[in-house]
């Protein structure tokens, strides 16, 4: 198990180096960094000085090592647009995106799993057919359209929920949250549903398919033959066996949720890193873009690591057998 974790950590480092390299290339070769920083009236001599100062004349590998070293410490330089350290801007925006992502992941799991279980256990009921139809809609509709439809219905027509923004933010010093106020909750509902609807339908369909497969297995038949109660068979035996693929997909989808919050944040003007990234692309703010890239990669790597560890928790077959624990023949 320890060896497995070390191996996984090494993999993660390699992935991060590769992504960092792409970010570095972007930094240095998408346009001229000096041109991006200075105004038109800067002389050639001044430019050359700045170039020397910033170490841009150093050999390629030295520049990359310096970039990687700085990035590892969370230093991505100054934003061209905001004239402030990139990491400060990102840390300001990150809580909004993480809160939104986690709420939509909880929504996707909390609704998707029960719906999947229900549709698997009651395949022919009317409600199951309704769920399956809704899930088809959820899979087919693009995110921005769902967002706009929700705004039209709940903000414009019914006027129950605000159509944009993140009000009611409470600053906790190291974090600022909108989940401590009623206004904040009202504002996060629609973006969270918009962002999580696709994942919810995906999880529902996955749970349903896995559950149907597991219900056909011999150990479920044997569990029934032993006279176990339906509840024990369905939730104790069947559901737990569907969890490995569900954890995998949910984990990967959580990364996707964070990365693709861009569209939802744009539709709802949610002040997270997605919105920041869109602004950075518009203004060719390379440091912000490369920092965003590295950060998203970091999330994916961390989530993958957690997913791998969860496998161990769920499936005993993966746990390394200690000598003596087996025996028999």
């Amino acid at each position: 198990m320890a060896a497995f974790i070390i191996k996984r950590l090494l993999h993660s480092v390699i992935v991060m180096l590769a992504v960092g390299f792409v970010a570095f290339l972007m930094f240095n070769y998408v346009g001229d960094p000096i041109n991006n920083m200075v105004g038109q009236e800067t002389t050639v001599v001044q430019r050359e000085q700045l170039r020397e100062q910033l170490g841009l004349n150093d050999p390629f590998y030295l520049q990359f090592l310096r970039f990687a070293g700085n990035a590892a410490q969370g230093d991505f330089g100054l934003s061209y647009q905001h004239r402030r350290p990139v990491e400060d801007i990102i840390m300001e925006r990150l809580p909004a995106t993480l809160e939104l992502s986690i709420m939509s992941a909880l929504f996707a799991l909390g609704v998707g799993v029960p719906m999947g279980v229900y549709t698997a256990l009651n395949r022919n009921s009317v409600l199951s057919k309704v769920f399956m139809f809704v899930s088809l809609v959820g899979v087919s509709l693009p995110t921005f359209l769902i967002g706009i439809l929700l705004i039209f219905l709940f903000a414009v027509q019914l006027q129950w929920l605000p159509s944009f923004g993140r009000p009611g933010v409470v600053d906790l010093g190291w974090w600022h949250t909108s989940l401590l106020t009623w206004d904040g909750w009202k504002a996060i509902i629609m973006p969270a549903i918009t962002l999580g609807l696709f994942q919810m339908t995906l999880i529902m369909r996955l749970v349903r398919a896995e559950m149907l497969g597991v219900l056909r297995t011999d150990y479920i038949k044997f569990a029934r033959a032993r006279g176990l109660k339906n509840r024990a068979v369905h939730f104790g035996h069947a559901l737990k066996n569907t969890m490995v693929p569900v954890i995998t997909v949910t984990g990967l989808q959580l990364g996707t949720i964070i990365a693709f919050a861009i569209i939802t944040e744009t539709v709802f003007q949610w002040p997270g890193i997605g919105l920041l990234f869109i602004g950075a692309v518009r203004d060719a703010d390379i440091p912000v873009m490369s920092a965003y890239l590295v950060m998203i990669a970091f999330f994916f790597v961390v989530i993958n690591l957690i997913v791998d560890l969860l496998y161990f928790a769920v499936d005993p077959r993966l746990r390394v057998e200690r000598p003596g624990a087996s025996g028999g023949h």
């Binding site: 056909r216 297995t217 011999d218 150990y219 038949k221 044997f222 569990a223 029934r224 033959a225 032993r226 006279g227 176990l228 109660k229 339906n230 024990a232 104790g236 035996h237 737990k240 066996n241 769920v314 499936d315 005993p316 077959r317 057998e321 624990a325 087996s326 025996g327 028999g328 023949h329």
Partner: protein, 342 residues
Amino acid sequence: MSDPLLKVEDLRVEFPTRRGTLVAVDGVSFHVDQGEVLGVVGESGAGKSLTGSAVIGLLEPPGRIAGGQVILEGERIDNLPYERIRRIRGRKIGAIFQDPLTSLNPLYTVGRQLVETILTHTDLSLSKARDRAIELLQEVGIPAADRRVDSFPHQFSGGMRQRVVIALALAANPRLIIADEPTTALDVSIQAQILALLKRLCREHGTAVILVTHDMGVIAETANRVAVMYAGRMAEIGPVRDVIKHPRHPYTIGLMGAIPSVGSDVERLSQIDGSMPRLTDIPTGCAFNPRCTKVLDRCRRDRPDLIPAGTSEVACWLYDDAGAAADIPAAQPAPGVAHVAG
């Protein structure tokens, strides 16, 4: 003799499909006495496993019992509501399935699965149930049971797992165990051990067994009586010695001729021409008539019921005295019928 433990009367199992209804088990009747071992043999698709599943109420939908009765200890159980039949499973009728590798939930320790079964059927406390689980594992011959109780199924070998499965089936001391090919998936060397274990435990507990298998050797070693099934119907049923030594139904005769035996110097084993008909085109009359070497005209017309013949019962017109006398035996099977391949 008192009432039999289990009585199955005219059981019919159907599978509705798009191309019409398939009758997988057709008019099967038999009984099982207290503590006896009834072997059920037949080729794949003869309906022997389905008969077992139907008795315990575990037919996979869309399969369903379309007719007949299953009577356990005088009480009809085939039409019980789900919750009532659930209480019978495990407590009155246990089951053992073919593949011990897939019969146990891989995510739970064997102890947990045993305790869960015990708690479902008894009022024992958790710690008492655990003691009972260890006892059961000892009883089925798992070494160091008090330690192995916390092992996961994948940490046991196939034979050991089948022992665990037997322990699970016996956990609530059922009156009857339906063992569906319990040794087919195991090594030959392990098969004998598992059979001996099953036989010993059932004798000790007074548990009756329906032993479904296609292995005549297993039947000969284990069963008191044997039922031979063909194309979803009962062909012959009787004491195991009788059926093996003096088979009566032409199908059983063919079956016995196809078994090699040590010591006999038969050069060539006999075979039954053709194969079992598919469920979609079972011939009228006796289902075996196209392959039967002693076919009568009547066999193509009327379906024979079980007819007492000696100590056995046989579903064959040859043993219907009145019928055989009235009918002229066909000297040769009609051309094109004898060798119909399924």
